[in-house]
Symmetry: C2
Subunit: 139 residues, 2 copies
Amino acid sequence: MIDHITPGFALDVLKILGIDGKGGEVVSTAVNVVSKRQERKDIVKIQDRELKPDEVDKIALIAPNATINIIRNYDVTSKKLVQLPQTIRGTLRCDNPSCISNSREPVEPQFSVDKRQPIRLKCYFCGHVMEREDVLRQF
Amino acid sequence: MIDHITPGFALDVLKILGIDGKGGEVVSTAVNVVSKRQERKDIVKIQDRELKPDEVDKIALIAPNATINIIRNYDVTSKKLVQLPQTIRGTLRCDNPSCISNSREPVEPQFSVDKRQPIRLKCYFCGHVMEREDVLRQF
């Protein structure tokens, strides 16, 4: 279960995980529901699905307060907060078409993460800044 | 609440309704859950949202067994099955670029509905047939 997702972003989390329902995954989501900790929050529950590290990094970008709870036999067996990475490598493309990471050179895209909310990513190569909405478009 | 949605199609129903969470709507969804009536089903619950007739028509196209339940004070006050229309007018475009409904002529797109599942739509003007996946792409 992914809890305390930034309100309104549950469907983006599903996109990050490549879940659209057609694969038969058993999923439930709650969007903009009242939370104790925050004013509003989103929740995503997925049956039998482990999250890969790069999926967790992507979720952290749009939902930095999210917690990932593993539930077994109705009990929370593990609970941890996502962590915003300092840098993001390889998983996103720079929006600047003339950036060297978009050329044919074998250069892996790389961004430094500005942790103020909403998040901003700065390209390591060309300095181009991507806003959260630019990042969302790549999921 | 929209119940008995074809399993895996809850997110398409949200797309039809223009809901992505960013508008603050309180929404919950269940995807591929076990149902009594069907093997699996999807459910979408939305707070304080009435459905327009053309939205219900679109939902019927992808989820012909869906029921629309109005819940007030925790009680189901009304429950009705969606109905597949015989024809669809105006809300979808024909996929055939040379169809007259895609020209500058003032011709409203119109399709007859083949109710066998999954649904197929036949253009009234050029005879082009659109499959369910073609229809989904327009939502």
